[in-house]
């Protein structure tokens, strides 16, 4: 297991390095000049030129990258061009929105998708199954931002139950914070829930056809025990794989939904950074998101061993 972890760690570092080079080059190859965006169309070209010089954007890409990497290795991600605040601090300040949002969406996804998928598999080719599949088809077809707008129209404009957007902040208490994330988490989780319902259903269906399930039933084992003990556990590996990948996709989906709901999270931070060509910030956020996704996949891999003790890491 130790060797396995060492190998995974090496792969982790290599992935991050690759991602950082890719982002660095792509962002710099894109036409568009951060100094001009900062100064705007009403500032003087001389001011933009001075700013470009001050930001070190005149030097070759390789030199800029080397310098950035050197500082990043020491934990310094640089300073955001548009905010003039250290990138690390900016990312940290946005985590209290994006992490709970993603987790709430994931919780919603798991609590809704697992029972629904299980139910659909049990009712295979009966009305319940078709209904569940229809609902999940709709969930897949509806884009998250549109679902978000519809939810706003219903719950804030019509009913006035929650605010239409913005984040109350955790300092005002747990409930106000959670409440401002409810709709976005639901809208964010909708698509992934629908996908996971289908994955769960087909995975459970596969297992239900196994001989040992028939044997268990023949022995007179209770239906719930058959489902919970014999079926679900064995069906979990593909489900965990899909769910792990989906966690990463939830973070990506947050970029759009944070804009729709005006939430101060990582997604809106990086969206603004790309439009403003705020290179250090784009770089920092991408690295952060990439590491999180690699970490999630790593945890999922370890989970396999828990779910199925036959799996060995070497």
């Amino acid at each position: 297991v130790r060797r396995y972890i060492a190998r995974r760690a090496a792969a982790f570092v290599a992935t991050l390095f690759f991602v950082s080079v890719l982002v660095f080059v792509v962002v710099r190859v894109l036409p568009g000049d951060p100094a001009l965006v900062i100064i705007g169309a009403e500032g003087s070209p001389e001011a933009a030129a001075r700013l470009r010089e001050a930001l070190g954007l005149n030097r070759p890409i390789a030199v800029q990258y080397g310098e950035w990497l050197g500082r990043a290795l020491r934990g310094d991600l640089g300073v955001s061009l548009q905010y003039d605040v250290p990138v690390g601090r900016l990312i940290l300040s946005r985590l209290p929105v994006t992490i709970p949002l993603t987790l709430m969406a994931a919780a919603f996804m798991l609590t809704a998708a697992l029972p629904l998928g299980l139910y659909a598999a049990r009712r295979h080719r009966r009305a319940g199954d078709y209904l569940a599949m229809l609902v999940s088809q709709i969930g897949i077809a509806v884009p998250g931002f549109w679902a978000g707008l519809l939810l706003i129209l219903l719950f804030s404009v019509r009913l006035g139950w929650v605010e239409s957007g913005g984040f109350a902040g955790w300092s005002s208490g747990l409930w106000p914070g959670v409440r401002s994330l409810l709709l976005p988490a639901f809208a964010l989780g909708l698509f992934q829930t629908a996908v996971l319902v289908r994955a769960t259903r087909s995975s459970v269906l596969d297992v239900l056809r196994e001989d040992y399930v028939r044997t268990a039933r023949a022995k007179g084992v209770g239906e719930l025990s058959v489902l919970g003990k014999h079926t679900l556990r064995n069906a979990m590996i593909p489900i965990a794989t899909v769910a792990g990948l989906q966690l990463g996709q939830l973070m990506a989906g947050a970029i759009i939904l944070e804009s729709v709901f005006a939430l101060p999270g990582i997604g809106r931070l990086v969206l603004g950074a790309i439009t403003a060509r705020d290179l250090p910030l784009v770089q920092g956020v991408t690295l952060f998101v990439a590491s999180t996704i690699v970490l999630i996949n790593f945890v999922v891999d370890l989970l396999y061993g828990v779910l199925d003790p036959r799996i060995r890491y070497d």
Partner: protein, 503 residues
């Protein structure tokens, strides 16, 4: 556990969910008490230092609310005394300002003439990287006579000197706060900065020691950053915001005008929307071609098709809020036959092809472009629309003049000087116009200066370096009962000092 047990659990869960909804209902905030205001703004300011950024997002929060100038442009576009009670000049070269007494910065210290000197010395210092050094280049010396008297000596007569003193880059701040202007600016304004929650909101609170008695009328102002127009509209309808000043487009107006909860105010701005032609590129080097393009565009139809009929048709670069405005909207009316004739004279009887670069960041530019492309088709000019991202527009079109045609709003007030600058992205290089402009800059006498402005406008109309389309309308949507918001915007500012809820 049996199936009925599961049902029991499901029932409990449903009950819990219902309880949560009821809780949400109970916990919903009551209507905001009246001395507060929540505004929606589209972009978060990149920083709050007006001496470091030209961003209008910064001006919208800070300018005239937190920080003020020696003189002020009021809601009618007039320059009025402000931090300076009055000023005096006998030769148009030396301006003496007499400061109002008892004006205090937000840190409690009184404003002195030395602060004024410090602010402009710093603005003129290239090290400062002030975004508008040109506004102060005419100043040769600043002399503090006493604590309340300061004299500016100019290198030569400069007609726009007073106006430049009222601009956003000329705000007065205390020298001891210079290092924190970017995140915690202080000044003499009616409001003090209370907090800036990055990514979410900026909160201003009333300055109880404000130097104008009875102002401000609001206790607390919250700016919320909502980028998405649909989200802004939903927030307005849900009652989460009281005002939207720039977030909504003309497409939202018909719906909101019908809604009795809101009042929609339409006014003028200095934002001239222009179809620019690259005067250094063929065929736009030829005046006949430029005039043909002008005759080929039906401006009222553009306003109708792209702006839902909102926005005043423009005939030249001076906007209606400018005291020297001359209405030239009818000077070159839509006339496709004349346009075709001019094109034939210039050697393009069958028209030509052109690429129109617009940025989807500004929807009005894309929509106007679509209408114009269809119109120009009729005179044989085949326009291909190319949408490019804003930062690309800035570097390719605006900086490098790498374009045939483009559309954008020019928001700056008093910007006719752009046509006297051959390096500006219009690339319009005309010695006669440059001479006229130079003369206007050193002519202080109002009548003589007006005559020069009329001449400049006539010259521009004849030469048609660009096509002036329309003035982008000021569009404010507020909840019923809010008073005192500026109807017109003679310069870009968001002055909230006189805004109040009706009793």
């Amino acid at each position: 556990l049996s199936i009925s047990g599961l049902r029991q659990r499901a029932r409990t869960a449903a009950g819990l969910a219902l309880a949560a909804l009821v809780l949400a209902l109970v916990a919903a905030p009551a209507a905001a008490p009246s001395p507060n205001l929540v505004l929606q703004v589209t972009t978060e300011p990149p920083g709050l230092d007006l001496t470091a950024t030209p961003a209008s997002a910064t001006a919208g929060v800070i300018f005239y609310n937190v920080q003020e100038c020696l003189v002020k442009v009021d809601r009618h576009g007039k320059i009025v005394p402000w931090l300076a009670d009055r000023w005096h000049t006998s030769d148009d070269r030396n301006y003496t300002f007499f400061l109002k007494r008892g004006v205090r910065f937000h840190n409690g210290r009184e404003l002195r003439a030395a602060d004024v000197k410090y602010v402009f010395d710093r603005a003129m210092n290239p090290e400062t990287k002030h975004p508008y050094p040109g506004y102060y280049s005419a100043i040769s010396d600043i002399i503090v006579k006493d604590d309340y008297t300061v004299t500016f000596t100019l290198k030569s007569t400069t007609a726009s000197f007073l106006l430049n003193m009222a601009r956003q880059g000329s705000v007065i701040y205390p020298r001891e706060a210079v290092d924190t202007l970017k995140s915690e600016p202080i000044g003499t304004g009616p409001f003090k900065l209370a907090e800036w929650v990055r990514g979410d909101r900026i909160v201003l609170v009333k300055n109880p020691d404000y130097h104008v008695k009875g102002l401000p009328k609001l206790d607390r102002v919250t700016y919320r950053f909502i980028t998405d127009a649909n989200a802004a509209l939903a927030a307005l309808k849900a009652g989460d915001i009281d005002v939207s000043m720039v977030g909504l487009g003309p497409e939202h107006v018909p719906e909101l005008q019908k809604d009795s909860r809101f009042q929609v105010t339409l006014g003028e701005t200095t934002n001239d929307v222009i179809l620019s032609m690259n005067n250094s590129r063929k065929p736009y080097t030829d005046r006949r071609v430029r005039r043909a393009v002008t005759y080929g565009i039906n401006k009222p139809e553009v306003v109708k098709g792209a702006m839902f009929g909102l926005g005043r048709v423009l005939g030249t670069n001076v906007d209606p809020l400018n005291p020297y405005f001359v209405d030239m909207a009818g000077a070159m009316p839509y006339d496709p036959a004349k346009a075709k004739k001019l094109l034939a004279e210039a050697g393009y009887p069958n028209g030509f092809e052109a690429v129109l670069r617009v940025s989807p960041q500004y929807q009005y530019s894309v929509r106007s472009g679509e209408v114009i492309a269809a119109q120009l088709q009729k005179i044989g000019v085949k326009v291909k629309i190319e949408q490019i991202e804003w930062s690309q527009w800035l570097s390719r079109v605006w900086k490098d003049a790498e374009y045939d045609l483009t559309i954008i709003g020019h928001a700056e007030a008093w910007d006719i000087g752009n046509y006297a600058n051959p390096k500006y992205y219009f690339r319009y290089d005309n010695a006669d116009f440059q001479k006229l402009f130079k003369e206007s800059e050193t002519t202080v006498d109002d009548r003589a200066r007006r005559a020069l402005y009329v001449k400049m406008q006539q010259k521009l109309v004849e030469d048609a370096p660009v096509v002036w389309l329309y003035v982008y309308p000021r569009l404010v949507v507020t909840k019923k009962g809010l008073q005192g918001v500026w109807k017109d915007l003679p310069l870009f500012v968001n002055d909230l000092s006189e805004v109040a809820w009706a009793k």
